[in-house]
């Protein structure tokens, strides 16, 4: 038995929009600690890891560890039927091959209380009427069997971690991809440099550490142990930035010879992390295939 009630239903919509470009089918795993997902893109270059901790849900019930295989486009279709203010409940029974999404529209008239105080009684009566009309929608979706390969991601110490406004990062990726296909990210004492090269020319964008800002989310903070330079495919970076609406800041963790981690924190709930394998300079250094 599984029942998860999330007051901020729109959050799920945003999560789906953030990952469905990268992954088509994935297993959602539920355990006592939370609702999570790990999936790779079809070419096994990028990985997305999502965690929504149980504390973030208004009601969280998961009797045993379960995984539910879903087609993300279909989930997205279902969630599009929910209003932005709706409360979303995810339900599934043991052994069932479907999952149910329940959308509850909150009473729209509650706001009026404070504004039209003198009409209090009248409004009370109205909202009483409305409450009877509150909408509850149930959408049931078929689950699927997905043989997904789970990767173990070790906790690593990164050479450099850059925190910056997520919109800024999205803008940089978008701008660079109009010039080239790959981005070289290098972190030095001076700051973080994003550069690319294409047929029409080159581009370099440098962001310096900047902590003297009005709002903390506008800061750019660079924690560096060692300078690093890595090359990545911009196509993937751009699809990661689809998660921008989830968080006002993004953090990039880099280490030479490790995939980059692009993390968007989800307030009070968890995170969505994207891992991207770097481009390898010398292809003969290719790691031997694993049997």
């Amino acid at each position: 038995m599984l029942e998860l009630r999330l007051v901020q239903g729109s959050l799920l919509k945003k999560v789906l929009e953030a990952i469905r470009e990268l992954v088509t089918d994935a297993n959602f795993d539920c355990s006592g600690t939370g609702f999570s997902l790990q999936a790779m893109d079809s070419s096994h270059v990028a990985l997305v890891a999502l965690l929504l901790r149980s504390e973030g849900f208004e009601h969280y019930r998961c009797d045993r560890n379960l995984s539910m295989g879903m087609n993300l486009n279909n989930v997205s279709k279902m969630l599009r039927c929910a209003g932005n203010d709706d409360i979303v409940t995810i339900k599934a029974d043991d052994g069932s091959d479907t999952v149910t999404f329940m959308f509850e529209s909150p009473s729209q008239w509650n706001l009026s209380h404070s504004v039209f105080f003198f009409l209090c009684l009248f409004v009370e009566w109205l909202s009483f009427l409305r409450k009877g009309q509150d909408k509850i929608a149930d959408f049931e979706m078929k689950l699927m069997d997905i043989d997904s390969e789970h990767l173990g991601i070790p906790e690593a110490e990164y050479h450099a971690i850059v925190r910056m406004p997520s919109s800024e990062f999205a803008r940089i990726c978008k701008d660079l991809s109009s010039i080239g296909d790959t981005v070289v990210i290098s972190v030095t004492k001076e700051g973080v440099k994003f550069s690319t090269k294409g047929d029409i020319g080159t581009a370099n964008i440098v962001c310096r550490q900047n902590t003297t800002v009005d709002k903390p989310e506008e800061a750019t903070i660079i924690e560096m142990k060692e300078p690093v330079t890595l090359t990545f495919a911009l196509r993937y970076m751009n699809s990661f930035t689809k998660a921008t609406p989830l968080s006002s800041t993004v953090s990039l963790s880099l280490s030479s010879e490790l995939p980059i981690v692009v993390e968007y924190k989800i307030a009070e709930m968890g995170y969505i992390r994207f891992y991207l394998a770097p481009k390898i300079e010398d292809e003969e250094e290719d790691v031997k295939p694993q049997v």
């Binding site: 379960l66 699927m144 173990g152 891992y275 394998a277």
Partner: protein, 382 residues
């Protein structure tokens, strides 16, 4: 060709050993491809109209070049690293099979002539496909083309499939691609079918893992080889009346061909005289392949643009513009192949979650799963 009915036998008895994979998921992987098989396929399908194939001005067939060129580019574009393995000298035992094929081809040539005389289009196509033979010239053309494209070419000492399997065992390549199920009998750890199908057909790649095959069939490698010989291979006849299912049953019961021969009803099953099954077994077990130390590092290099234009456009009448475009694609693909894969950094982990929707092949033999088993493949992802 290959092992008779092995695909079906595995689908029925070892469904977990075969997995449909997306073409793109082989990104960055080194793949050994059985060249002769591919060339044969190209001669059969590429640009065929009736008994006519693509030819150059001199009238020489160029279907194999066209096929090799476009399909290899497709692999490169998807970031794969193909290496082509060509057949060397066939083992003596195979000569019998080869001469059989030769006589079949002779028959087909006769039939083709009659069909042509009668103007029966369907028969012309049918029989002309059967007359297809891969000549040394075809092989040499393809080798030249591949070298110009910067794709490695390896000449096997004997059977190409055996060499492919050996390369895969030694970790020089990730997998073997062929249409011949022999590759599994030669012990290729990972074997791909339908890799070379045109993208327009949308056939997913079928991946076989020998370890899973053995695990699910509950056989040792030696027993599996015996099973393949019983099913019918290229090296010797099989016993009349024994097909895949019976062979599997017999091997499970008796463990080896020797024991089976001692125990089966010889009246019912006629065992071929002087049946060289031991010899065939030896060929599968210890085929003639190059020594691991002799196997050179397989290298992919930049294409020779001028060489390709001379060979394809000037000598074989390919469209110059198309060839130039294709060369651009090869060069672009070269860039792409430097992308790393996540598996090189993170190791697979076992997920602890139980699928809410129980799989039909669940190990727990509860009533429910038994019930679900009755609809094979019902809930599988397409």
């Amino acid at each position: 060709m290959g092992i008779k009915g092995l695909t079906k036998l595995l689908a029925d008895n070892a469904p977990k050993s075969m997995k449909e994979q997306k073409f793109e998921s082989y990104f960055g992987r080194k793949i050994a491809i059985d060249a002769s098989m591919s060339i044969y396929q190209f001669l059969i399908v590429v640009g065929r109209v009736g008994s006519e194939l693509l030819t150059n001005e001199a009238g020489d067939v160029t279907s194999h070049l066209q096929g090799m060129f476009t399909r290899t580019i497709r692999l490169l574009e998807a970031g794969l690293k193909p290496a082509y393995i060509f057949d060397g000298k066939p083992p003596d035992l195979k000569k019998q099979e080869l001469s059989k094929r030769f006589s079949k081809r002779e028959d087909a040539t006769e039939d083709l002539k009659t069909a042509q005389a009668e103007g029966d289009k369907e028969s012309i196509e049918k029989f002309s496909k059967r007359t297809v033979k891969v000549t040394k010239q075809h092989n040499d053309d393809c080798k030249r083309l591949l070298r110009l494209m910067g794709v490695p070419v390896i000449e096997a000492p004997s059977e190409a499939e055996a060499e492919c399997a050996a390369l895969c065992k030694n970790g020089k390549v990730y997998a073997v691609a062929s249409e011949d199920m022999d590759s599994l009998t030669f012990g290729a750890p990972r074997f791909l079918r339908h890799l070379m199908e045109p993208s327009s057909k949308k056939i997913p790649v079928m991946e076989f893992e020998i370890a899973k095959v053995l695990e699910e069939l509950d056989l040792t490698m030696d027993q599996f080889i015996d099973l393949c010989i019983l099913c019918g291979c290229d090296y010797c006849d099989s016993i009349r009346g024994i097909g895949g299912q019976t062979a599997l049953k017999l091997i499970r019961q008796h463990g080896s061909i020797e024991n089976i021969l001692e125990n089966i009803n010889k009246e019912r099953y006629q065992i071929p005289e002087n049946w060289p099954y031991q010899e065939a077994r030896r060929l599968f077990k210890e085929p003639l392949v190059s020594e691991p130390n002799d196997q050179l590092e397989i290298k992919w290099t930049a294409p020779d643009e001028e060489g390709l234009v001379t060979f394809l456009v000037n000598e074989n009448g390919f469209n110059g513009e198309r060839v130039t475009k294709a060369i651009e694609k090869i060069k672009a693909a070269k860039n792409k192949s430097s992308q790393g894969r996540l598996e090189s950094f993170f190791k697979p982990a076992v997920s602890t979650s139980v699928p809410i929707k129980r799989k039909e092949t669940s190990e727990k033999t509860t009533k429910e799963t038994a019930k679900k088993k009755s609809k094979p493949g019902g809930g599988r992802k397409k």
